[in-house]
Each structure stands twice: as C-alpha cells, then as structure tokens.
C-alpha cells in the first residue's frame, strides 16, 4: 500500500453539517488530502460501498463516522467501517450521543411514519404511501434499508475508539484532533486513551464563557426571542435556559458569544451520566421561589422540558427513549 494514511468519512443519520465542518478547516483540508487517501466520503468524493467491502480488515487507518444510527444501512456501514479501520471516531453529536435525530426517541416508529407519510398538512390528502423495506415489482424485489424502532448512538452498534463532540465539532478542534491522530499513526506519538472524548475540554462551557456571572435567581424563564438580553451578563441570570452549566466546553463558547443559549451539543461533563437530569437540576435551582404553585407557574414557561434537557443526547441518556404509552 501507499505511504499515505487511508481514511474514510461516512454519514449516518445526520444533516451533513459534520461533513461541512471538516471542510470548514479551510486550507487545512488540502493538507489532509496531501497526507491521506480519502477512500470513502459519500458527500464529497467518489468511493463505493463495494470498494469498502473489498478492503482488507484494518486497511483504513481512521474512519470518521458522523450521524446517528437510524436504519439498517447506517448500522451495516458502521460495522463495515469498524472492521476495515484501525481507529473508529464518533464524529459529532449524533454519533457521540444520538444528536438531534435522537430526539425522535420521544416518539415511536409508527408515530413517525404516520406523521411523515399519512397525516401531514403538506401531503396530498388521502395519501396512503408508506415506504416498505421490501417491495415486489414485475422485475423482482426492491429493497431499501429498514427503519429502526428507535435511534442509536454509534457505540450502541460498534466499538468506538474516540469521541469528537459538537454539532458540528469546532473546526479548530477538528484540525487538532486530525493532527494528533496523524502524529500517532505516522510519527509514533502517543495516541489518546481509547474511549476518550477528544477535541474538547474537561470543564463546563461556563468556565470559558466571557459573560459576567453574579447571583442566579430568576422568577421567569424566557425563550431567547422573548427578551432583549444584556450581552455582557450570564444568560441563566436573565432567565434564558442555557445548558452551559451542564455541558462540556471546547466549542469556543460559540452560542453564548452570539447571543444564543448553549444547547448542550458537546455533551455531558466527565463523570456525568445523564446530561439532561443535570441540566434540569441546575435550571430548577435558580428559581427564586418557595411557593410550589409559583414554582409551577415559572416552569410552565418552558414549553418542552424533555427536548430542552436532551436536545443532543436522548439516546445517550439513562432511559434512552420514551418508554411507556
């Protein structure tokens, strides 16, 4: 084989933002192309699944898998890449924690199919066409990947070496991680410990947030568009639910710096088992009331507690999905 590193990048159930984040490293992408053969990257370069199947086990040095596992194709390619790769990286929030697609775990497969294909204002009324994994036609049998009952994160289906968090990962972090892996693979530098979260720090977003923090006591929650915010002051203190307190930093505080609350895409802090439960705990503790009825009124201003708490990590939470009803 050539001296170049062999890499692959794949998208499972994702939006493509992670693929773009690799391109967002700007001219550095040329260095990657010079140092490595990109053997599979569906969004950007040619390369077929059959080429992947034809590879020797371990022929790829690094696979960057972004997106969650929503259907049988996602799982099939995840397993193939794992088999063919020395290092498997869960790239971005969806592969790491389930991400935005993971919010679908608050609904059942039947509800999703019903909403998407049967009862939706944008559908022609009376439509009864629902995709089936297998369809018989005159020429034979046509198949499409089967849609799973729920969303899984990457390490639910394959062994993962490193997790690179973010929705999408910050370009500077992507670059640093790629350089670390290249140094480990080609120059014998020490590789990060298996299972490590790479390209992120071990402290909360608040630690890096430049906004001033004082006492947190709020008597009303606001959605970002409901209030004219003070850009120099902690968002939580202004009643805007900001997940920075319960989220790993490393993103560069992108959202609070642009006036939006942190949504939690970098995932839980080290040793935290359930990011949403921690976030909810933090949110509740800043409510300035000792009256149960007033507390109820205050939290009624949060329209979707589950979605807020687990915006990027429902499949990685303790309960993983809606379990009853």
């Amino acid at each position: 084989m050539s001296e170049k590193l062999q890499i692959a990048k794949y998208w499972g159930a994702g939006c493509g933002g992670c693929d773009v984040s690799l391109l967002d490293t700007n001219e550095f992408i040329l260095d990657i192309a010079a140092a490595a053969d990109i053997r599979l990257w569906p969004i950007a370069v040619d390369g077929k699944y059959s080429d992947l199947e034809a590879m020797e086990d371990g022929e790829l040095d690094v696979s960057l898998y972004n997106g969650a596992v929503r259907n049988s194709e996602n799982e099939h390619i995840a397993k193939l890449l794992r088999q063919k790769s020395k290092i498997m990286v869960a790239y971005g929030s969806c592969a790491h924690l389930g991400g935005i697609p993971g919010l679908a775990n608050f609904a059942t497969r039947d509800e999703i199919m019903d909403r998407a294909y049967l009862h939706n204002p944008s559908l022609q009324s009376g439509s009864k066409v629902v995709p089936q994994p297998i369809t018989e036609v005159d020429a034979g049998e046509l198949t499409i990947p089967s849609f799973y009952r729920r969303v899984y994160k990457l390490d639910d289906v394959v062994d993962v070496d490193y997790y690179l968090p973010g929705c999408p990962p910050a370009p500077a972090q992507v670059k640093a991680v790629v350089l670390t892996l290249v140094a480990a693979l080609t120059a014998g530098a020490e590789a990060p410990q298996k299972g490590a979260v790479v390209g992120a720090s071990d402290v909360a977003v608040c630690e890096d947030c430049p906004r001033t923090r004082d006492e947190k006591r709020i008597s009303k929650f606001y959605r970002p568009w409901q209030i004219i915010q003070d850009f120099d002051r902690c968002l939580l203190e202004q009643g805007i639910p900001c997940a920075g307190v319960a989220t790993r930093s490393g993103c560069g505080v992108r959202c609070p710096n642009t006036g939006m609350p942190c949504r939690g895409c970098y995932g839980p802090l080290p040793n935290v088992v359930d990011q949403g439960a921690k976030f909810v705990s933090a949110l509740a503790s800043i409510i300035d009331s000792k009256d149960p009825e007033e507390i109820d009124r205050i939290i009624a201003d949060i329209p979707d507690v589950g979605g807020l708490a687990y915006r990027f990590g429902l499949p990685a939470s303790l309960l993983e999905r809606r379990v009853e009803r």
Partner: protein, 144 residues
Amino acid sequence: MTFEPKIVGFLCNWCSYTGADLAGTSRIQYSPNVRVIRVMCTARIDPTFVVKALQDGADGVLICGCHPGDCHYSEGNYKLMRRYPLLKRLLTAYGIDDARVQLEWVSASEGRRFGDVVDLMTQRIRELGPSRVSAALATDAAER
C-alpha cells in the same frame, strides 16, 4: 403472581429518616415495599438518582424530607421543591406516569404519617402496575 411494587425511598437524615425510625420503634404496621436510602438532605437528591432508580427497575420513587421551613440546613428542602416539578415534567416526556415519583414532607415525629405515606404510595403504584422501563430497554437491545 401478584405484583409487589418495588419503591425506592430517598429520606433525609434529619426528619424523614428519623420519622421512619419512629414508625419502626412504635411498631407501626405498613407496606414493606419501600427500600430506603438515607441522604443527608433532600437537596442532595440529584434528578439523576431518580432516573437511575427507574432505569434499574424501580416501579416508583418516594422522596421524603423536612416540612418547608424546618430544614436542618435552613433551605435544602426548597432546592428539592424546585427540582421536583421539573423532574416530573422530564419523566412525562419519557412517557413515565409522573405519579411514579412522589414527594412528601415527613417530620421526625410523624412515624404514623410515614407509614400512611408508604401505604398510599404502594397502593398507587399497585394500581399503576409494574414499570415497563427495564423491559423497554431490554427490547431495544434484542430488536432493532
């Protein structure tokens, strides 16, 4: 086989645990369904504990602390008072009946009341039936 609810009880050290102790020393008869975990204060009860208990197969979670105004640490129970309704809404999102988690204030002198609270909670969970959390997670591992 009849369904015997498994309930995890988080009791604060200063009021409710002592109240439960009083129920015992007073020979008060009540349902044996609660497994008690003593915490120093209800403020120590991270919502993660409750979610973890449910994940591990608890059919219900009972939280007992000092009456408002009586906290050994002045304001600890108010922290829980604020977390509790938000935790309930979180559980509702998961499709878990929020009656599976109950908060009751029980003082150190209320041994009788502790017994009544446990009886009532057990009765309520018995009516709700077993939690399906463990079964749901097991299904996910077996079938995509």
